[in-house]
């Protein structure tokens, strides 16, 4: 019914089965590849597909819809591109009647893609977004999503459907697992160029979600404190030098960047910590004794940690402790003067 010509094949779409026609041969020149309204796939590379078509032929023909004098692609964007690459003049395709509504076309596009392979997150996002433009009723949309093999949890859908609106590099970051979906959504709160710059940074440093969040928080707050932008910060000489230093491995760069950002966000705290460490060093405590300040120097309690193996070491510690107590260095540390 929906396809032109015979009706001896059926696929299930929306409310029921729609008949599928036998194949028609369509000139590639009549297919509009620019119209990507119904595009689900994120993949653009075609060489593998070209090789497969060359060896086995076009096993699964694309679905097209007649639109005035040309054809709009419902599914099979890459297959058509591969056939063009191979220099084909015509291509076998299933043709939907021009009377078929766009929402049914979208369901064909999603169904055709999901039947062939599992969709990635961006593709699921596109599918859900495309569905949302036609189903104003949430329950109908959920039902349709469920039938098409898409997530049918409303709060999850609301999150996922935002992904396809993110800048392409952020979508790619999600697909490459450089960032999680949660991080992708967090980045959507920033200007697109900032989100893209951050994904690039995370890709370069290969860091986990918690540290990504820490870096974003530090950069954001430094930018707000210093009345600048995250973008400008990332382009500053100090940060660029760390990132571009070929002698540092990723883990080292990551650590240096985090320390740098902490120091810049909390300059007085860092200065005080450095001074404390310098004074502790002057006490010459050795490896088995550790003097720790109150957390962030707020409370009154210092901690002295002693490692020993036997009584002789403990006695030795007592002598050392007497020396430390008498030293002006400890006095300086405790009185902060």
């Amino acid at each position: 019914m929906a396809f032109e010509g015979d009706s001896n094949q059926q696929i299930f779409v929306g409310q029921g089965f729609v008949n599928i026609n036998v194949l028609q041969s369509i000139p590639l020149s009549a297919i509009n590849s620019e119209d990507s309204r119904f595009r689900i796939t994120t993949k653009t590379e075609i060489l593998e597909l070209v090789e497969s078509i060359q060896q086995l032929g076009l096993i699964h023909p694309p679905i097209l819809k007649r639109h005035a004098s040309e054809y709009v692609i419902i599914s099979g964007f890459r297959r058509i591109a591969a056939c063009r690459y191979l220099g084909w003049i015509e291509i076998p395709a299933r043709i939907l009647s021009s009377k078929i509504s766009d929402d049914t076309c979208i369901q064909y596009a999603i169904a055709d893609n999901t039947l062939q392979r599992p969709l990635n997150l961006v593709e699921i996002s596109r599918s859900l977004f495309l569905l949302s433009s036609f189903f104003k009723d949430e329950n109908q949309r959920l039902e349709c999503a469920s039938i098409l093999g898409l997530p049918d949890n409303l709060s999850l859908i609301k999150k996922i459907e935002k992904i396809c609106h993110l800048p392409k590099p952020i979508q790619d970051g999600i697909l490459k697992s450089t960032i999680s979906m949660a991080m992708g959504l967090e980045l959507s709160k920033f200007e697109p160029n900032i989100g893209v710059a951050l994904v690039k940074l995370f890709d370069q440093l290969k860091i986990g979600l918690n540290k990504q969040r820490e870096i974003i928080l530090l950069l954001d707050e430094i930018a707000l404190r210093e009345n600048t932008t995250i973008d400008s910060l990332l382009n500053e000489k100090d940060i660029k030098e760390i990132l571009d230093n070929d002698e540092l491995d990723r883990a080292r760069k990551q650590k240096i960047i985090r320390v740098y950002l902490h120091r810049r966000r909390f300059p007085t705290l860092f200065k005080t910590k450095n001074e404390f460490e310098k004074l502790v060093k002057e006490l010459k405590l050795g490896n088995s004794i550790k003097l720790m300040p109150p957390k962030d120097f707020e409370g009154p309690t210092y901690t002295l940690k002693v490692n020993f193996h036997n009584l002789a070491e403990l006695k030795d510690f007592r002598t050392k402790l007497d020396r430390i107590i008498r030293s002006s260095g400890l006095q300086k540390i405790l009185t902060k003067k």
């Binding site: 707050e221 707000l224 404190r225 966000r265 909390f266 300059p267 007085t268 705290l269 005080t272 957390k295 962030d296 120097f297 707020e298 409370g299 009154p300 902060k336």
Partner: protein, 371 residues
């Protein structure tokens, strides 16, 4: 900010205070059976905090009117007492803790004044020195627009000699105080900040000069005064600005009229940070060098606090050497480093403030012994 809706709990709809307030407000009125209905109305708004500032709920206080101030053990507390007359505020300070303290925040005014006065009589009967304030869960003076609260309280406190009332405000709503027989048992107090902070972060409050002018008027009517530099905010140029505030204060107000001055730097619960970011995206005050304090609140890194306190103390002492300066919720190290002593050397902070109240407000010193 103006009130746009008045809710009245049906249990108090026939109270004289209710009629009086209703007659002064020309807004839609809705009588409700229970508070939940008001809270649901507030929570259904796009910005419940904003809605809470425009919605007045008249009800009864079913709990205690006389409460302990919620201080923590980790820092030196002044043992202040709260007179719980209502909640929230129609002014809109960025840092206001009340935004995250009440769920939801709503302008709530308790009209069961007979219960309030009965509780106060019990407090007075103890014949102990208490410092009681109405400005912890709300601003003390915003209610002057629609109620006769100051008349009620100032008169009640004037008739006893052991307890002092502190009315803490950022308004200039003092006109009603003029004719009241206060007997020096009411301290009128202002929260002070720099012009920049008032303009940027204390929306709908009175300007610094207006606050000081109002303070001078109250002093001329014989009221003891207090000032609270709290929260002080560290920003570029803040020292010059705070010094200027100190100079403006003493240019307008005789130091002898001041019972105490408190100092406190900005501190906030982490839950407030998100609210500030959402409601005031242009504010920068939460991006200072804050660390988690011993009470869990975010505070400026201690050396920064000490540095500003020391300077403030020096500027105040330079112009008013005899005024009592104290810190709100700080530890001995801060006291020692900034003021040169710790409260325990003088019997503790509550004792220091009580003694000061006895001296300035004419309280009966016997009340000190009973504590």
């Amino acid at each position: 900010m103006t009130i746009t809706k008045l809710f009245i709990n049906q249990h108090i709809k026939n109270f004289p205070e209710t009629f009086s307030i209703q007659s002064r407000l020309n807004v839609p009125v809705e009588v409700v059976n229970e508070s939940r209905e008001v809270f649901d109305y507030i929570l259904s708004a796009k910005d419940p905090i904003q809605e809470g500032k425009q919605t007045l709920y008249l009800t009864r206080n079913n709990g205690a009117f006389f409460k302990k101030c919620p201080g923590t053990r980790c820092y030196t507390c002044c043992d202040y007492k709260i007179l719980h007359i209502g909640t929230f505020c129609h002014m809109d300070c960025t840092y206001c803790i009340l935004q995250s303290y009440f769920h939801p925040p709503v302008l709530q005014y308790f009209v069961n004044h007979a219960d309030l006065l009965a509780e106060l009589r019990d407090v007075f009967a103890k014949k102990k020195i208490y410092r009681i304030g109405t400005g912890e869960f709300t601003d003390s003076m915003i209610w002057e627009l629609w109620t006769d609260l100051s008349k009620l309280l100032v008169t009640a406190f004037s008739e006893q000699e052991y307890t002092v009332l502190e009315l803490k405000t950022k308004t200039t709503a003092i006109e009603e105080l003029y004719a009241l027989p206060h007997n020096r048992k009411t301290i009128v107090a202002w929260s002070l900040n720099t012009n920049q902070m008032i303009k940027k972060e204390e929306r709908h409050t009175a300007s610094l000069s207006a606050r000081l002018k109002a303070a001078a008027k109250c002093a001329s009517w014989g009221y003891p005064l207090a000032f609270h530099f709290d929260p002080m905010v560290i920003y570029e140029g803040c020292e010059k600005d705070y010094k200027h505030v100190v100079h403006q204060l003493f240019a307008q107000v005789d130091p002898d009229k001041i019972v105490w001055i408190s100092l406190g730097t900005l501190r906030f619960m982490l839950s407030l940070k998100g609210i500030i970011q959402k409601r005031f995206p242009n504010s920068r005050i939460i991006y200072g060098e804050f660390i988690a304090g011993l009470d869990g609140k975010m505070r400026y890194f201690k050396p920064l606090r000490i540095d500003l306190y020391r300077k403030m103390v020096a500027w105040i002492r330079d112009l008013a050497p005899d005024v009592l300066i104290y810190f709100c919720m700080e530890d001995d190290e801060i006291w020692n480093e900034s003021l040169g002593f710790i409260p325990s050397e003088y019997g503790g902070l509550p004792q220091m403030l009580d003694t000061r109240a006895v001296k300035h407000c004419g309280l009966n010193p016997d009340g000190l012994i009973r504590k």
